[in-house]
């Protein structure tokens, strides 16, 4: 097949905070150091810059200060400076404030932002520097030259549901680059493939993930004043489950309300979406949301494993940045500044390597050294064992977190041993010894009133997600027989619960049994299914370009 090709010096895959920071840093280096102009391109699967951006979000501005020192004059949309920090421990019907805000959760000097707006702004700066930002183009696969990454192939368009070529067919483009910076986000499809091919995770701990579900609400003004940060622990989670809630006050009565659930729970019937509904029904939260309107919904996975789970960050011709590399501080609940910083450091190494005309793995190892010598390591290394300690439950986890603050994270066994989240899920027969729950209903349902609480399908509508309907499913389940037989028996089809977008349904097969139905066009690109499926037979691949959520204001 004839394909168009495009040659660039640096290709950045993913237009989030990491990718855009890399692009901007490259343009700055070019300006400062001169020389042959570099061609730089950014690929973004969303139809417009920022549309797939979702975060809490509280931004630590330290990387931004270095990247755009005059960010205030240039109109950075920073929402509200944090004024008040609150941390509560929730029980079913009451809350106890922490007497002291734990140091990692002190947010003075940080900003509550909409990541969607922030990245749109950053993308504007990048485009103003003459960098090409190609929106609506997902990277489908890596192009290799031996083991050297030589660029990417973008996804085909115009393929029908059953793989047939439609009249609108356009073949994907081969974009060849001297250095490819992967900023494809948490569980990025290219990073996942590259890590496997080059065994970049050898000797590292398994990544641990969490799923964040968030709604944007319009509330009567001053109910949650702009600049208010509330974090909760405890209810509706049990001692064995990791996670917590957040409420962040933005200007103009807009409020972010969300819940993060660790994707390392044991109970196969656990449902993060239902947990979020229970959280909103807690008196503390319900009181704040009363008479408000939910206007947006979204979900995203987070890499929470920390320092020991970060893979080797470079290969010949390739660098890994941001969430794709696992750069999140799970104790501070922050990653945007780390994404920006790693993007900037990757840009510096890519620039240096191209100028020296050496993009080998050995040359690009300078990126690894830059990360090791940066504030990314000084921030992540002391908390390297924190998330792992929660494998032993909430109380040991909290005790170890406190200990880390004084011990620098030291532990008898370092790295502390850990298991991938999907391996921790127990089988129904082991977890429910006193009686088998019905896999098609919720063990602990929340009342849905469509005011405060919503069913999954209604929520998905407010993610604004859209995909061309007539295309192959971009959620590839390698063996759907397992779903109706083994998985149904062993785990009760947990995909129908951990997916926050109603993609997976077990429907009547017409013969008294149930079969899997994949509602792929509901997908909000959170990657939870790829991460949490106990048999690891679900592969998330990018859908036709431009498909996905529309996270305006999120």
């Amino acid at each position: 097949m004839e394909r168009e090709t495009l040659d660039v010096d640096v290709l950045i895959v993913g237009g989030g905070p990491a990718g855009m920071s890399a692009a901007l840093r490259l343009a700055q280096l070019q300006k400062a150091k001169g020389g042959e102009p570099l061609s730089i391109a950014v690929l973004e699967k969303a139809r417009e810059v920022g549309a797939h951006m979702l975060s809490g979000a509280v931004l630590d501005p330290r990387a931004l200060r270095d990247l755009v020192p005059d960010f205030e004059q240039r109109g950075a949309p920073l929402g509200a400076a944090v004024e008040h920090d609150h941390v509560y421990f929730l029980t079913r019907s009451s809350q106890a404030p922490f007497p002291l805000t734990p140091p990692p959760l002190r947010n003075h000097g940080n900003f509550i932002i909409s990541l969607n707006r922030f990245v749109k702004w950053l993308g504007g700066l990048v485009e103003a520097e003459g960098v090409d930002v190609f929106t609506g183009f997902p990277a489908a696969e890596i192009l290799y030259d031996g083991d050297r990454v030589a660029g990417v192939r973008t996804g085909d368009r115009g393929i029908g549901r059953h793989g047939e070529v439609k009249p609108t067919f356009e073949a994907g483009v081969d974009i060849r680059a001297r250095v490819t910076i992967l900023a494809d986000g948490v569980r990025g499809n290219l990073t996942k493939a590259l890590v496997r091919r080059l065994s970049l995770d050898e000797g590292r701990l398994a990544q641990l993930y969490a799923l964040g579900i968030k709604e944007l609400w319009e509330l009567p003004k001053d109910r949650v004043p702009a600049g208010t940060v509330i974090h909760t622990m405890g209810y509706p989670l049990r001692m064995e489950e990791f996670g917590g809630g957040f409420i962040y006050g933005l200007p103009d009565g807009l409020v972010s309300v969300g819940f993060v659930s660790g994707l390392d729970y044991r109970d196969p019937m656990f449902d993060p979406h239902v947990t979020f509904q229970h959280f909103k029904r807690h008196p503390l939260v319900a009181g704040l949301l009363r008479d408000g309107q939910m206007v947006r919904y979204g979900a995203k996975a987070l890499p929470e494993g920390g320092w020991h789970t970060v893979p080797r960050l470079h290969g010949a011709g390739a660098l890994i940045t941001g969430d794709a590399g696992g750069f999140v501080n799970s104790m501070r609940l922050k990653g945007i500044h780390l994404a920006m910083r790693t993007g900037m450091l990757a840009a510096e190494s890519a620039f240096e390597a191209i100028r020296a005309n050496d993009v080998s793995a050995a040359a690009l190892e300078s990126y690894q050294r830059r990360v090791d010598g940066s504030d990314v390591r000084t921030e992540l290394y002391p908390v390297r064992n924190v998330h792992q300690s929660f494998e032993y439950g909430l109380v040991p986890g909290l005790m170890f977190s406190g200990l880390s603050l004084v011990s620098g994270g030291w532990w008898l066994r370092d790295p502390m041993p850990s298991h991938a989240g999907f391996e921790r899920m127990r089988k129904i027969a082991d977890y429910y010894r006193d009686g088998r729950p019905d896999p098609d209903s919720t063990v602990n349902p929340a009342r849905i009133d469509r005011q405060l609480t919503f069913d999954r399908l209604t929520n998905v509508h407010y993610a604004g997600t859209r995909h061309a309907e007539d295309q192959p499913s971009h959620l590839i389940v390698y063996d759907t027989d397992i779903c109706r037989t083994r998985c149904r028996e062993e785990y009760g089809n947990p995909c129908t619960r951990f997916c926050p977008a109603n993609v997976y349904e077990m429907v009547d097969a017409g013969d008294g049994t149930r079969k899997l139905q994949i509602n792929a066009s509901n997908c909000v690109h959170c990657k939870t299914c790829d991460i949490m499926d106990p048999y690891q037979i679900i592969d998330w691949v990018p859908p036709e370009g431009g498909g996905g959520p529309q996270y305006e204001g999120m």
Partner: protein
């Protein structure tokens, strides 16, 4: 001040949404002109001349026989500069969405899209349009010099509420020629799928089925009802996903948006994704086993019952009449 409505036609057939836009424009209380653009569109002009309006203007040019964005932008920008209307109203159809932004940019005028209501605020108009997938309605006032361009959401106004004149309005030809050499697009024959597709937005009555229909062979129950009503058969998403009906019969956020006179929902629970595609229907009848189904929140008539009993009874009654 005057309002110019741009009628939409394809192959000499008027798009019903034009009447909705005429109804919206009449509510402004301003003098109304209607433009028909195309080639060989006299019958369409005569049809819209029945509306209560000052006159109908025909822009007829062989270069406009088939729709192209360039052709329409050229013809309409010339017409608007010549006529100097105070406002321009268009139906919010796929075709309008294709050319209206370019037209507004060419004229350097404000464009307000997907409007559901209009009210007067002093000497200016305030337009209501949905935001956040219809969760919020924003009041929008257009800035800059007139004319402002306004597109009206399908189903927001009722076609049959457009006032008819006592006698047909005068039909005149606009002296506008389109330079075919400036049209960059070359339309080819419509895709096969597009040619076969039913345009449910044109149907006056629709019988829609949802998961409650249970099996493909039960669709004949819905077909019998549709036949008795003279209605088109449509469906909610799960039915089309299962391949029981083609995708072009899907109603909702990932299918078509419709506003027929009668919408009968059989075994449809009423997920918001479906409701946004049909809530503008004039009369909604819902038949569902589950009394708590959200479809009943938008239904004018609701029957809580088994559709396999209720529908045959209705069909029998209709056929007896």
């Amino acid at each position: 001040m005057s309002v110019l409505v741009i009628a939409e036609q394809r192959g000499g057939t008027l798009n019903r949404a034009t009447w909705e836009t005429i109804a919206a424009a009449q509510q402004t209380g301003e003098a109304l002109h209607i433009a028909v653009v195309g080639h060989g569109v006299d019958a369409v002009a005569a049809e819209v001349a029945a509306a209560r309006c000052e006159r109908v203007l025909v822009v007829d040019d062989a270069a406009l026989a088939e729709y192209t964005a360039d052709g329409f932008v050229l013809a309409l920008s010339a017409l608007i500069e010549q006529e100097q209307p105070g406002l321009v109203f268009l139906p919010h159809t796929y075709q309008t969405r294709d050319f209206a932004p370019a037209l507004a940019a060419r004229l350097k005028r404000a464009l307000v899209t997907d409007v559901t209501a209009i009210r007067k605020d002093g000497d200016r108009f305030v337009y209501v349009r949905p935001m956040f997938q219809g969760k919020l309605s924003a009041d929008v006032a257009a800035g800059g010099p007139p004319p402002h361009l306004v597109t009206c959401q399908i189903g927001a106004y009722r076609a049959d509420s457009a006032a008819r004149g006592d006698a047909p309005a005068a039909i005149g030809k606009a002296a506008i020629a389109v330079d075919a050499a400036r049209i960059r697009q070359r339309p080819e024959a419509p895709f096969k799928e597009a040619r076969q597709a039913v345009d449910l937005s044109q149907a006056a009555r629709i019988v829609a089925v949802g998961r409650g229909i249970k099996a493909q062979e039960n669709l004949k129950i819905a077909e019998q009802l549709a036949q008795a009503f003279g209605a088109e058969v449509a469906a909610s998403r799960p039915i089309c996903d299962a391949g029981w009906l083609p995708m072009d019969r899907q109603i909702g956020s990932s299918g078509q948006t419709v506003a027929p006179k009668l919408y009968v929902a059989l075994g449809i629970s009423g997920a918001i994704q479906h409701l946004v595609g049909m809530k503008g229907s004039r009369t909604i009848v819902a038949i569902n086993k589950d009394a708590d189904a959200p479809i009943f929140e938008v239904a004018d008539y609701g029957i809580v019952g088994d559709l396999f009993e209720v529908v045959p009874a209705i069909v029998a009654e209709l056929n007896r009449a």
